[in-house]
Subunit: 230 residues, 2 copies
C-alpha cells in the first residue's frame, strides 16, 4: 500500500505538532510526504503533477491544523483546482474511486468543547462533513480520522501513543481486528533497526515478539475449542 | 442597518449568477460591496482595514460559489488572518458579538441531491456547520442563508423572486413576521425611482401601495375585534 501525506501548514518549521509527526514518519518508499506550501509558495499548483501523485498512491492523507473548522487556504485551493470533474468525479471518470482517504488534524482546543454546550458547538464528525462529502463524491473510502487535540499538553505517554497511532494511520491496512493490529505491531517490532540496542534491550524485544506470538497461538487454540463445542 | 457584502469569487466577471446579484444590490450608502480577489490579487490581506470594515457594519454577508462544500481559498485565508483571537473571539474581546451573519451561496448542483441518498450526501445545513460554528464562536447571529441552486436554469419568474430575496437578505431587518415583510416591501415601493415610469405604471404602483396599506388596516381592525372578543 502506498500512502500520500498531503500536508498544508503555513509555517511547518514553527509547528511542534507537525515536526513531531514528520519525525514519526517511517523512512519507507511506500510513503510520500508532500507539503503544499513548500512546493507552491506562490500558490500556482501544478495540476497534472498533483493528479499523477494521487493516482500513484492508494491512501490519501490530508494533514493540517484545524483553522476555523477547515484547512488552511492552500489546501482548499488545491482541492478546487486538482479535484476536477472528469478526474475526481463525474461521468468521464472517477480516478480516485476505491482509494482510502484519511484526515490527520491538529486541533488547538480540547476535545470536550466540540459538542453541544461546548465552546465549539459541534463535534469533529459534524464539522468535517465537507470532507466526508468529498470522499463520497470521489468514491474514496473515508477512514477514521486521527484527531490530535492540544498537542502541547500531551504527556510523554500520550505522545508515544500518538506516535504509534500516526504510524498506523499511514501504514496499517484498513482492518480494526485485534489480529490485524497485532500483525502490524509484530512487523514493526521485527523491522526495527536493532543495531543501537544493548544486549538486554535486544532480549526484551525478542521476548516481546515471542510473547505476542504465543498469545496468538493460545487465542487460536481457544477459538478452535469454542468452535468444537458449538 | 449597515451591511457588508464580502464576495469571494476567482472570476467575478465570468459568473452570470454573481453579475446578476451585483446588479440587484441597491445603490445605498448603507451597503458596502467588498470583493476580496479584486482587493487582494496577491493574497496579502490588510488585516486592520478588514477589521475596521467589520466594525463599521451590522450585518456581514459571505457571498461565494460553493466549491467542494466551502468557500474559495481567499475567503478561507481571510477568515484565518482577520478573525483573530482578541478581535473575533476570546477573553480580550469579541468585537463581532451581536452582529448578524448571513451566507449567500451559489450552488452548481440541484437542491434534491443535498440529502442522504443524493449525490452530495448531506444537506446544506449539515455542510455549512463550520460557518455556523464560526458565528457561534464570534457571537454573531446566524441568519437563514440565501441558497441559489443552479442559477443558469432559473426561470424568469424565479429570477425575479431571487432578486427580491437577495435585496431582503441585504437590507431587511431580521423579523419574519408578515408585518415586517410588508413594511419592507412598502419602503421599497415608495423609494423606487419613478422618473422612467409611464403615467399608467405610476398609477398602478400608487394603487399597489394603497392596497397594501388598506389590507394592513383591515388586519389591524380584525385583530382589535378578536382581542375584544376574548
Amino acid at each position: 500500500m502506498k500512502t500520500l501525506v498531503i500536508i498544508s501548514h503555513p509555517d511547518l518549521d514553527e509547528s511542534s505538532s507537525q515536526q513531531f509527526l514528520l519525525a514519526a514518519i517511517p523512512k519507507n518508499e511506500n510513503i510520500t510526504v508532500h507539503h503544499l506550501e513548500i512546493n507552491y509558495p506562490d500558490g500556482n499548483i501544478d495540476v497534472f503533477r498533483e493528479q499523477e501523485l494521487l493516482l500513484a498512491h492508494d491512501r490519501i492523507i490530508f494533514q493540517f491544523p484545524f483553522y476555523w473548522y477547515s484547512s488552511p487556504a492552500l489546501l482548499k485551493h488545491w482541492q478546487d483546482v486538482v479535484l476536477t470533474e472528469g478526474f475526481a468525479y463525474g461521468q468521464q471518470g472517477s480516478m480516485l474511486a476505491g482509494k482510502e482517504f484519511c484526515l490527520v488534524l491538529a486541533i488547538g482546543v480540547k476535545e470536550s468543547e466540540y459538542q453541544a454546550g461546548g465552546r465549539e458547538l459541534y463535534s469533529i464528525s459534524e464539522l468535517t462533513k465537507p470532507y466526508q462529502a468529498l470522499a463520497f463524491k470521489t468514491e474514496m473510502i473515508y477512514l477514521k480520522p486521527l484527531l490530535i487535540f492540544q498537542f502541547a499538553y500531551l504527556t510523554h505517554e500520550q505522545k508515544i501513543q500518538l506516535y504509534m497511532d500516526y504510524q498506523q494511520a499511514l501504514t496499517r491496512e484498513k482492518d480494526d481486528s485485534l489480529q490485524a493490529r497485532e500483525k502490524w505491531l509484530l512487523s514493526q517490532l521485527e523491522n526495527m533497526d536493532k543495531q543501537n540496542l544493548a544486549d538486554a534491550e535486544h532480549a526484551t524485544l525478542s521476548n516481546a515478539i515471542a510473547q505476542i506470538k504465543s498469545n496468538r497461538s493460545t487465542i487460536e487454540e481457544l477459538r478452535l475449542i469454542l468452535e468444537q463445542m458449538r
